[in-house]
């Protein structure tokens, strides 16, 4: 006895199951991808960063084994008899073929037995979303890191890496230490030297019993020893070293506004809009990592533009022609009235199927170049169409040549092609 060990394992790794969980998600990635796509469709673009419930048909996750089926003759013992006596018969429920006997199929929680339901975390959700968007790892990491920090100086510490050594402070410390350790002794040395000089200059006593020689010898020895002591005090010691210390501090809060512009004319199908939505989500996530406060402005347009809420932006349909400049004008007006570029970082993302009234495209180009691009950090345009470009694209191409730092455009036919638009943006921010 007495052979028990009580061990505290609470600080050991928690996530022993992490790999197994990851294996499960990997195996059912097609199911999960679909659930994530559904959620993206359902959720607001500002509400993309949380987990999601996923259900998979149990049939697909079951692990098959040989087992008994229904039929034949079976006898089972049960507890809790009330009135049965041997020889009693109980009619079988009609049509059921006498199944469901005994073996404990009850589901006490009342949840459907034919679904395997589980939760994926926010991080996993984003991963599947980013898979969909074919985001490179570096960009993923940057989007998932929750806080941006900068390093600020915060005094000095006695430990650190050589690169952070503060030479002046270390030497000053060494000097102080040398004074502290050697000062008293040096004073004593000075006193004794004075004494010695006095003795040496004093007239020799005739009585050898009062000879100064012994005293001089003793003083000289003591002075030599003290001097040796003082010499042994190192010029600089480990305890003198001082390192500059830096602390991680959250970036000061700044604000950004994100303009979402979308063509909602008849030619834009729901599929187009779902792709556009991913594009806006990605921009939103990117901004969220860089700014504390983000406003989102939704502007939809056909022949005229209107500021709307998100629901109306993505899910209501219009018919008719397209005049893109109407949206640009409205955006400019909103900037002037509500989002002073001095206080706001302005981003804009425009999605369209490329349709525009031909005479309008040069107007758009001029509006962008003259009144909008000077005010914004970044303007991204995606054209969701597999077809040939129209006038608007060619106008925008010219804009990109003139403003390569703040304007990007991309033609996409599926969500995987959205990312290149952002590459430039990420690269710029990384620098």
């Amino acid at each position: 006895m007495g052979m028990t060990h009580v061990v505290d394992r609470r600080l050991n790794g928690k996530n022993k199951s992490a790999v197994n969980r990851e294996r499960f998600l990997r195996r059912y990635r097609h199911h999960i991808k679909k659930a994530v796509a559904d959620a993206v469709h359902r959720r607001s673009i500002t509400d993309i960063e949380r987990g999601e419930n996923v259900s998979i048909p149990s049939r697909d996750t079951d692990e098959p084994i040989f087992h008994h089926g229904q039929g034949g003759k079976r006898e089972v013992v049960h507890p809790g008899n009330k009135e049965f006596v041997a020889g009693d018969t109980v009619p079988k429920p009609p049509g059921g073929g006498g199944q469901g006997q005994g073996q404990g199929q009850a589901s006490p929680d009342g949840e459907g037995m034919d679904e395997f339901a589980f939760q994926i975390t926010q991080e996993e959700f984003l991963d599947f979303l980013f898979d969909d968007l074919e985001l490179p790892n570096l960009a993923r990491k940057r989007l998932k890191d929750t806080e941006a920090f900068k390093y600020v100086r915060s005094g000095f510490s006695t430990q650190g890496v050589p690169a952070k050594l503060d030479v002046v402070r270390s030497l000053r410390g060494a000097h102080a230490r040398r004074l502290g350790l050697g000062g008293a002794r040096k004073k004593k040395i000075r006193e004794m030297e004075a004494q010695l000089a006095a003795l040496k200059s004093a007239p020799e006593d005739l009585d050898p019993a009062f000879s100064h020689e012994d005293q001089i010898k003793a003083l000289e020895d003591e002075i030599a020893e003290l001097k040796a002591n003082v010499r042994r005090i190192p010029f600089i010691d480990e305890i003198d070293l001082r390192y500059r210390q830096h602390l991680k501090q959250p970036q000061p809060a700044t604000s950004a506004v994100m303009f979402c512009l979308m063509d909602v004319s008849g030619s834009m199908t729901q599929m187009h809009k779902d792709i556009a939505k991913r594009f806006f989500i990605l921009l939103y996530l990117f901004l969220k990592k860089n700014y504390k406060k983000i406003d989102v402005v939704f502007i939809r347009h056909h022949t005229s533009a209107k500021e709307v809420d998100e629901e109306e932006f993505f899910y209501s349909r219009e018919t008719g022609g397209t005049i893109v400049s109407s949206a640009l004008k409205l955006m400019h007006k909103i900037i002037e009235s509500r989002y002073s570029p001095a206080e706001w970082n302005i981003y804009a993302a425009q999605a369209s199927d490329g349709d525009n009234w031909n005479d309008d495209s040069p107007i758009c180009s001029k509006l962008l170049a003259d009144s909008i691009l000077p005010l914004v950090q970044y303007y991204a345009y995606v054209e969701i169409t597999p077809q040939d470009h129209q006038m608007l694209w060619y106008e925008y191409e010219k804009i990109q040549e003139r403003f390569p730092q703040s304007f990007a455009l991309q033609q996409i036919a599926d969500p995987g092609e959205i990312y290149p638009v952002f590459r430039q943006l990420f690269e710029r921010k990384a620098a």
Binding site: N15, E22, P64, I65, R74, H78, G102
Partner: protein, 514 residues
């Protein structure tokens, strides 16, 4: 002498170890020390204990790896983890308060959230109850090696990881999926296996590889002599000559196309199946024994004045929840609660020893009135669920639990009550209940029947139905897994009374072919 002096059960002064329900490490040690003293009074023989305090998340991890402290990676454990954590977060499920590992030292997990009385209960239940069962029961003594299992698990995990690196996660996952489908058919039921050892495994892997190759080429020497085929006796001879119950073993040794690492993976799953086999055969006994002892040991603590009334109230509340048996017609009914059945039998066994009635003397003449500690130990050591129930289920327990047997024959329009808890029914009821815990009755009897060594190399499995009970609807799916491992056609025939009553094939046979 005063009254209290006469009754050792009632201590003069109650000096509880603690009065708060908050636990601390020194308190856990103190409780363990006292529980150990009580256990020694009753002669419980245990492996040394290792009690590990873990968090709820860690408990979920432990849960999902079927209680293995180290495990290879597989999606099915991830699935288990997801459903466990979901149940826990919703508060549907209290996490297990006990997970205990059949190892030496015997590892038991305590969850940090538990109150002190709960921790004491788990220590008594797992570290002294289950632990002494692992050390004493003949199945565990014969089939498992508590001192070697952890090393073997580490070996298995590393080997699987190495295979994943070399052959890819998918390739390994496929083999493991197939092995898991046949895991229940990866055990020797009668033959004692070689002891498990990680070092030995690693050393012998190489040897096995060479030997295996020689053996296989003998078996699969492809060009038969002509007169061999002509010989009617040789043609009739089956391979294997006797049906083989350990399907995984047979495949590991005989599948023509498997690579060495694939055979090793089969072997690993097989070894683990064998390790868990005793647990599957002793659930009622093992839980009953552990429950009996947490109940008995903590009462002994109370009698010694080491715990107070509040402690006992909390403990008894958990205890009654554990042994609650909903009746068959309750919405919460999901079969017989093994804790209840096992606890009832052991408790009644003690009663039969201490206070036998006339009925007991008639039913248990060898036991009635004997030393109860000795008798219970005898029962714990020498039986498995099936034989334990057959031997020790008393009429009183059958009455208390109000057992009855119901027969469902698909050739009849009615269910028949075939026996209840009365004089004419006791023996039949006991027999039927015992059979219910016989693994070879609970699982379909399927064995390797024949390999067409000289023909298309197809593998035929044979299923012997009992009472016409057919195979379930997973069968074709499982056959696909057998096919993946075997590499050639696989057939399964159900043979009742010498007549093939049902067939399944992989690849599935075209209808017009039949």
């Amino acid at each position: 002498m005063t009254d209290t002096m006469d009754r050792p059960n009632a201590p003069k002064i109650r000096e509880p170890i603690s009065t708060s329900s908050e636990w601390t490490f020194p308190l856990l040690e103190k409780y363990d020390e006292e529980i150990a003293k009580c256990a020694a009074e009753f002669g419980l023989d245990t492996y040394p204990n290792q009690v590990e305090v873990i968090s709820a998340e860690q408990m979920m991890d432990a849960y999902s790896s079927v209680g293995m402290p180290v495990g290879y990676h597989h999606w099915s454990f991830g699935k288990q983890f997801l459903s466990t954590s979901k149940g826990y977060q919703r508060g549907q499920m209290g996490l297990a308060y006990e997970i205990v590992i059949n190892s030496n030292p015997c590892i038991a997990y305590l969850m940090e959230e538990n109150t002190l009385p709960m921790q004491a209960l788990v220590i008594a239940h797992a570290s002294y109850g289950h632990n002494s069962f692992f050390k004493g029961n003949y199945l565990f003594r014969t089939w498992t090696d508590a001192s070697a299992i952890i090393d073997y698990l580490v070996f298995a995990r590393d080997y699987v990881a190495e295979c994943e690196e070399r052959h890819g996660v998918d390739a390994v996952e496929q083999i493991l999926d197939s092995c898991h489908a046949l895991m229940n058919y990866g055990v020797d039921r009668y033959k004692r296996p070689a002891p498990i050892s990680a070092a030995e495994e690693a050393r012998r892997q190489k040897e096995r590889e060479e030997y295996q190759q020689r053996r296989l080429s003998d078996l699969w020497r492809t060009i038969p002599k002509l007169d061999d085929d002509e010989d009617p006796i040789r043609r009739k001879q089956r391979y294997p000559e006797e049906p083989q119950e350990n399907i995984l073993y047979f495949i590991e040794k005989n599948a023509p196309l498997l690579e060495t690492w694939q055979r090793e993976l089969i072997r690993i799953v097989r070894k683990l199946a064998q390790y868990f086999y005793p647990q599957r055969q002793t659930q009622v006994m093992n839980e009953g024994w552990a429950t009996f002892w947490h109940y008995t040991l903590l009462h002994r603590m109370y009698d010694k004045g080491l715990v107070n009334d509040g402690f006992m109230l909390e403990f008894l509340q958990s205890h009654s929840a554990v042994i609650y048996q909903p009746p068959f017609d309750s919405p919460w009914y999901s079969g017989i609660n093994p804790y209840t059945l096992g606890f009832s039998i052991f408790t009644d066994l003690r009663r039969i020893c201490e206070n036998p009635t006339a009925e007991d003397r008639e039913w248990f003449p060898d036991i009635a009135g004997t030393d109860w500690v000795e008798t219970l130990h005898f029962a714990m050591k020498n039986f498995k669920d099936e034989s334990f129930i057959q031997q020790f289920l008393s009429p009183k327990v059958m009455r208390d639990m109000k057992f009855f047997a119901i027969q469902n024959d698909d050739e009849e329009d009615v269910y028949r009550i075939t026996a209840i808890h009365d004089d004419p029914g006791y023996r039949a009821l006991r027999e039927k209940l015992a059979r219910q815990y016989n693994l070879s009755y609970r699982e379909p009897n399927i064995q390797v029947w024949n390999v067409d060594v000289r023909g298309d190399r197809s593998l035929t499995l044979r299923h012997i139905p009992v009472d016409r009970v057919p195979l379930g609807d997973d069968t074709e799916e499982v056959l696909r897994h057998v096919h993946r491992l075997w590499g050639f056609d696989v057939h399964l025939e159900s043979v009742d009374d010498g007549r093939v009553v049902e067939e399944a094939h992989c690849p599935v046979k075209e209808l017009d072919e039949e």
